[in-house]
Symmetry: D2
Subunit: 349 residues, 4 copies
């Protein structure tokens, strides 16, 4: 029996002590304090017979606590709209995800030269983007393909973002490089292929940087939320969920299918902000603008768009889904119009 102990405030040391003793005599293993604010403690394999002891230790007023409760979790909990009905707003730099304004993050698949990056940053900032994306460490299915510039890419991204007044975000592929990435950029992205890399989720859960968590292209919405729960329970409440397309039987008309059902569903099921990536979500540049409009109409709180001055000359294999800066300008204009039709806005006018 897995249990979760919840109290409104962290109990004093002696109460905590008592609880841990209670759990121990209830046969619990793997007892772990998950979050310290809205205080939550998880324990595995608690002997149901001895739960009474644990329950007693959580009684309101016992040992001076405010009281608490025991939950046997079978699904996401802290990320659920049942936990709090107040939408969580996540700030990255000056931008806020989850409010009336809809931030747009733009940039190339991979960080390239300083000049290219500076030109992209200036162009997308001018068109209305608030964030800059670009991979320094690139997941590639084929080992022989370009895997990013690494640390030097981080430097370029950070510098160029600062100059253009854009916040920066880049993918973190493994715990080892998380520290470096935190030093350089404003937000960490967990990529689709790592959505169930649980050690990575725990690591970004211990970060002070906001996390953009991409949905596994293979993951149900329930599994997506459970991945978010890993991050939140490890101490980081600033999670933005990003729908980026799922894998289906269709792969010719578009490489993935952007799941807007999931966006509409998630807006009711969780208090976290939900954004869309129509670039990966289609794999085809000629569909990106239409899907960006659709995502915002469905309720998305933000957009991530791959942009490059010369998409067909970009360094990585995502060329087919990358739009140029002119198209990005049109996209922002059109998305802004749709946003206003649903009571929101992209641009400050």
């Amino acid at each position: 029996m897995d249990v979760l102990l919840i109290a409104e405030s962290r109990p004093p040391a002696d109460v905590l002590e008592g609880l841990l003793r209670g759990l121990d005599s209830a046969g619990a293993t793997g007892v772990e304090v998950l979050v310290g604010g809205s205080w939550v403690l998880a324990a595995h394999r608690v002997n149901p017979i001895n739960q009474a002891q644990v329950r007693a230790a959580l009684e309101p007023g016992t040992n001076g606590t405010t009281g608490g409760r025991i939950v046997e979790p079978t699904t996401s909990f802290l990320t659920s709209a049942d936990f709090t009905s107040t939408p969580t707003q996540v700030a990255i730099g000056q931008a806020v995800f989850g409010g009336r304004r809809i931030p747009v993050v733009a940039g190339p698949c991979a960080v390239e030269t300083r000049d290219t990056m500076a030109s992209i940053a200036a162009a997308v900032a001018g068109a209305g983007a608030t964030g800059l994306r670009g991979g320094a460490f690139k997941p590639q299915t084929l080992v022989y393909n370009f895997q990013g510039l690494g640390r030097s890419g981080l430097e370029v991204l950070a510098e160029v973002g600062r100059e253009a007044g854009l916040f920066t975000v880049t993918e973190v592929m493994s715990p080892e490089v998380a520290g470096d990435i935190e030093r350089y950029v404003d937000a960490l992205q967990v990529g689709s292929r790592n959505m169930q890399n649980f050690d990575l989720l725990k690591r970004v859960g211990r970060s002070s940087r906001p996390v953009i968590l991409k949905r596994g292209y293979f993951a149900t919405v329930e599994e997506f939320l459970r991945a978010g729960e890993y991050v939140v329970t490890h101490g980081n409440p600033n999670v933005i969920l990003c729908e980026r397309g799922i894998r289906t039987f269709e792969s010719q008309a578009s490489k993935f299918i952007l799941d807007l059902n999931a966006i509409a569903f998630l807006k009711r099921r969780t208090h976290l902000p939900v954004v869309a990536d129509p670039s990966h979500g289609s794999g085809r540049r000629e569909l990106v603008t239409a899907l960006a409009r659709a995502a915002v109409a469905a309720g998305a709180d933000g957009l991530m768009i791959e942009v490059h001055p010369e998409p067909d000359a970009s360094w990585t294999g995502d060329r087919a889904q990358t739009i140029d800066v002119q198209e990005f300008g049109r996209l922002v204009e059109q998305v802004d119009a749709v946003a206003r039709a649903v009571g929101r806005e992209v641009l400050v006018r």
Copy 2:
């Protein structure tokens, strides 16, 4: 070798005669005149060596024809945007699909009593719908479930639609009942499960009624177009394609995934109008309005929505995806706002 012979106008009888002889001596089997307007003739298993003979018979001026060409089709042809760049507009009653205005078809899953139908028709017409839907012959995966009122349902649908000033559409499940359905309603719907029922496609291809062709929940976009090609080649150019959700690994958060990538793609790949059914496309009523907005933002030329005064009391199993008339009113208002943001409109203001 399968070949297609195309001429701008139907050749005179003697030229046609010559062509058929030519095909015969080229070893062709299954020679068939497919459409009579933009004249197309298909032949199977033509001996490549003897094609010259066929080709000669199509020479411009030969025997007084305007000339023609031979195509070896490997994909859809008449439904392709390569065939004509002019968008096809399909009229059903007063409504036009494929123009600036976005018609909305609403109604219950199955035709129920005359009173219920009249109340639905009045309500949805008042809210801005232009068409009325309702099944008289219902496909049911389980043989024991209610399979529709049959002919008496057609009568009710036709009568109620006429009174409310709405065009009517209903599903035709097999060639046998197509004649009856044509007599009662304004447009024929081919359901998702019948998208590859080729004899049915041929039958509606010989109808004078417009056809709303639903995408198989299992079909690629290419296969969807090929199904449309069956209808068009059999003489009926008035085909409206309807995206209604595909089956993926996700079935909890929503029963199907509405494939808006397909809508954006089809708007570029075909000249036919493309509409969306967010009711079947999600299976969840709380997602319908958001997905209706998204579909129009993605470029949909129309919407089909399941509406019932008391969804949970409706006669068939689609209760979970049926919205009530109040929600339908909100849906139309919100969709109209999004439509205007993309230069179109649902309501006449």
Copy 3:
């Protein structure tokens, strides 16, 4: 409320009369006698309040009946292993499906010339096949592709099968041609794309010919059984279920995935025989023999294999999945060895 009335024997006319009156006053619509042997009667939309009346009419001894019961079906019923634990054996010609022996049906995708067919029939009969397959009416996704020889193909198939001592089976695509097909061949095949063509299922349910029902490549196992239920409830108990591959995200390594989980599951869930088609189930000839072995190891009661003397010269698009007669010989030998390892056999030795 949909209900099903079941009695061990068909009640006398006056009891039936009483039941129908009872159903009528219970508000039932669509009352239908489904099968006459193990007698079953279905009624839709029965008013729950008045069910007592119906129930009373079914009391054992009431009006001289043997008694019966009312079921509210939410899933397959007559095809379920819960209905009878005795495996159903279906005979086609001399072959029996569902017993110790494992029949193999072989032949080309489409019926071609009489000579080709005779050569195939002789070859596969010599190698151990007991049935001959070949399409006279071919479903084709592209309207321009060869759609079969039609009736003349049926004649060839019947004649050639008779000469070679093989039973014959061919696909029936629509109710209109079912009568013709019944006259010529020994068993009717419902193709994958028609698994949810409910009017066709009802028609073959009224046939005296056994039915090989192919699983929709898009259908869950539950839906597959429900399709079988349509056939059985319309009077035809001789249904053979055929797993032929499902559509997944994978389409390069093989076109479909042969779902052997389904075979193992169905052998426990239904009393009907279950066969496998590894030709369509892979779309690749080099995988067919290995998958045929695997299907029999998983419990398949028969095999359907596409064979042609010159696969690359066959008339339809299934060339890639068709094996030649030499490979068919190897396949039968290897499958027989595996069959014997699981206590069954293909060949009589």
Copy 4:
């Protein structure tokens, strides 16, 4: 342009030096020596114009090398059957994967108490297993579920395996713990969810332990091979590919579908051994034995089976797919019979 330089033997230092200079002046980035035996060097973004320089440095005899060639890889290379037609045999302990004998690895989902593990090990060894599996670090979609005993689990696994004469294998979830795991067990398993955790693949590629690489339940066969390529190019040729079921639209009849098409395909496409896990590949214990037979009939080189004395009392959520020791005995007997029918064997008789 990504290129791969291949020579039969590692060139002398001065030639290597020359090559690296050549690549540098060709504009290459990310130059990396991948494997040292069959020597391979990868370089990214090589300027095509300057490739001649690189090519020259590889000329046979140039600078005393044996010659080499340049490949522009677009797919897997070292793992391909085109690279070597000799099947790779991978030894773990006394067992060899890829030969005539078919090793069976058995054990619980997670390592539990020493007593439970000892009882399982004795039972499966007695029934014919050659390897013992059990997770000490468990991936769990829900953070609140039991995540394994960690290092103490490794100790138990190692000790118990040694006593029972079984080799041991356990899952490595992240590079951090790889060192510990290498010390305790004979082989490393990369789990399905980590198949595209590229940093983990590189880490196990630098290990001296054989690797059992599970296919991502979401991954195409091509992507699966590419994951194997990551391991091999980082220096570890001892890779065993494990098919463990893919995610499809079906999730009721079985949780995943064991893809035996992939096994038949991989046996032709790669020289690496391929094993099957019918426990995860179905998620249902009543299907495991039938699918194990089928996997071996399809060509599998080994099996991984979840076994527990009391499946319903096991510590993790995989209860439904775990068989008991009696069933495991039957499974081995039946699989051995099928193995012998295809010219192989499980048991030594």
